[in-house]
Amino acid sequence: MSTAVLTAAETAGSTEPTDATRGLVEITKVRKSFGATEVLKGITLTVEPGGVAVIVGPSGSGKSTLLRTINHLEKVDAGFIAIDGTLVGYEVRGHRLHELREKEILKQRTEIGMVFQNFNLFPHLTALENVTEAPVVAPRAGKARLSKAEARARGLELLDRVGLKDRAGAYPRQLSGGQQQRVAIARALALDPKILLFDEPTSALDPELVNEVLDVIRELAKSGTTLIIVTHEMGFARDVADTVVFMDQGQIVEQGTPQEIFTNPREERTRSFFSKVIEPAFNI
């Protein structure tokens, strides 16, 4: 069974587009409240397999919350989210939705990688240990767990891919912010996910470190993995996205190609938002 794992790993490692039915995300009428405030007010959004959706909007518009509902870190109050037609966090039995048990949810999450604003690397583990931890212990849907040796080989390969093979033994605090975020991306890739979620991956970085992270994400955009990215880097968004989604106050105001949204927005709210944030970043 180890050969099956290796081939799967190798397909993801190469840059040619993978199976086209992989990584379809359907979000339907999702609502979510924290106390009295409703942060998501009925979001409906589809991201095609291998697509790159970039979500932009003012802070507090619900972008991050939406991202976190996709891997069930936040439970939705209403609506549902499906990945390749399978509901996230629930199971359909007859005419009922059964809440999944922890183990099943973990299995689903291994197909959805996530990269956080604050990296959230495990500080007491080395870069390589951060990357190899999950593939060895996480329950995976239809795949065997990796042995320690396999995970190590795969981990080194991934660190090489993000340009950090020579820092494999370093602890996160010995790395720069940009390097930490690249390790975090390698860690998310280690489970060979169908979908990658990026929650403001460059917001905690010094300006000169932003590009090294964005370059890695650009590479991933070509690899056929579905990417959903929340970011404030408008130049990057225009460059990498096939769909740009503008959110405000818990709703999707409009979505379309970067061309449509950035140069010719239909809605007044979109226009006024971009007029405030875009000028310097747009000269690319």
């Binding site: 922890e102 183990k103 996530m114 500080p123 007491h124 212990v137 602890y171 605090r173 489970l191």
Partner: protein, 359 residues
């Protein structure tokens, strides 16, 4: 002292500094004192050229008051040491005579046994209580809270006496199904609760109440993002606690936990009320017979100091282990420092001393 520092100009031109020559380039030999900058360098008039201070001698700042303070404290320490050594009433001979006596060593072993058993059981129970307190079930939370509340608010002495006299409250102890006649196990309380059992029970439960709070504090100190990241990676719950949260919590837990263990070592002396022959009780028995009260208390004290010192060494290395990744480079251990000192100060061999020992 100041006389050694003034002749900068004389000590400077020694050819010990090749770097200075390369920087100046044009005037290698003329770097004598303050006269050098204006001579050769092509600098516009009115502006002085930057002086290269590389070959100047550094004079450290002086701290006279530090020396005064050191002298005063040094005198005080010497005075205390002198009185300890010369005052015959300390009776060091008696101390030495009893220090390794069989009965004292037996008492010491009992103390260590009590500490180890109630320390281990106390922290295990404390860990369970901490998890209960952090759980989502209101019943588990309130039971854990009540446990800590009761055992932290009653004196340990009272708890001890209560456990030892449990037979007065409940003549029999039995294990069975509540509200039925089914019994798996039944015994007389007085035969079950020996002095040892009462001591362990009292110390353990008391220790658990305190360590529960320490462990809970440690777990809470770990950033929520760590748990989120682990959950997002699909790492199972048990593994999340043991591999991700606990190792990071240990940094906050360890210093206070060692405080507790050291407190427990000395806290075991309270079981003398049960006439349990640990170190302190043994010492009391002896001095009641020989009337050498102070020297024998000194014997006990010295042993407590020894135990605490050994524990402190353990603490240092365990804390160092868990600070992996929390500091950019681990500080050298005393042993490594000594080795480095010897390596850099030994006149014989001058091998490059790489700091490879940071693991």
């Amino acid at each position: 002292m100041s006389s050694t520092a003034t002749p900068v100009a004389q000590s400077a031109p020694e050819p010990a500094s090749p770097g200075a020559g390369t920087v100046h380039g044009t005037a290698p030999a003329t770097t004598t004192g303050t006269a050098s900058p204006g001579t050769a360098s092509p600098v516009p008039a009115g502006r002085k050229a930057a002086t290269d201070y590389a070959d100047y001698r550094l004079v450290p700042a002086r701290h006279p008051w530090r020396w005064v303070g050191t002298a005063v404290v040094g005198l005080g320490v010497a005075g205390i040491a002198w009185s300890l050594a010369t005052n015959p009433r300390w009776e060091w001979g008696v101390v030495a005579q009893w220090f390794t006596a069989q009965s004292i060593v037996n008492g010491l072993l009992e103390t260590l046994k009590l500490t180890a058993i109630s320390g281990a059981l106390g922290f295990i129970l404390g860990f369970i209580l901490a998890l209960m307190r952090l759980s989502a079930s209101p019943l588990l939370v309130s039971v854990s809270w009540t446990f800590s509340w009761i055992f932290r608010s009653t004196p340990l002495l009272v708890q001890m006496l209560l456990w030892y006299n449990l037979g007065y409250l409940y003549a029999k102890v039995s294990l069975g199904l509540p509200f039925t006649d089914v019994r798996f196990f039944e015994a007389q309380t007085t035969t079950l609760i020996s002095q040892f059992a009462a001591a362990v029970l009292g110390l353990t439960l008391n220790q658990a109440a305190y360590s529960a709070e320490i462990i809970r504090g440690g777990i809470l100190s770990v950033d929520q993002g760590q748990l989120e990241a682990a959950a997002a990676l699909g790492i199972p719950a048990w593994r999340r606690s043991t591999r991700i949260v606990l190792p990071q919590a240990m940094r906050a837990i360890l210093p206070t936990a060692f405080n507790e263990v050291i407190g427990l070592v000395k806290g075991t002396s309270i079981v003398y009320v049960l006439a349990y022959s640990e170190l302190f009780y043994t010492v009391q028995v002896i001095y009641n017979r020989t009337q050498q009260v102070l020297p024998l208390l000194l014997v006990a004290t010295l042993w407590y100091v020894v135990i605490t010192s050994v524990l402190s060494v353990f603490q240092y290395y365990i804390e160092r282990h868990y600070s992996k990744g929390a500091v950019r480079t681990l500080p050298l251990t005393p042993l490594q420092k000594a080795r480095k000192f010897l390596a850099t100060h030994a006149p014989v061999t001058r091998e490059p001393t790489q700091e490879r020992g940071t693991r």
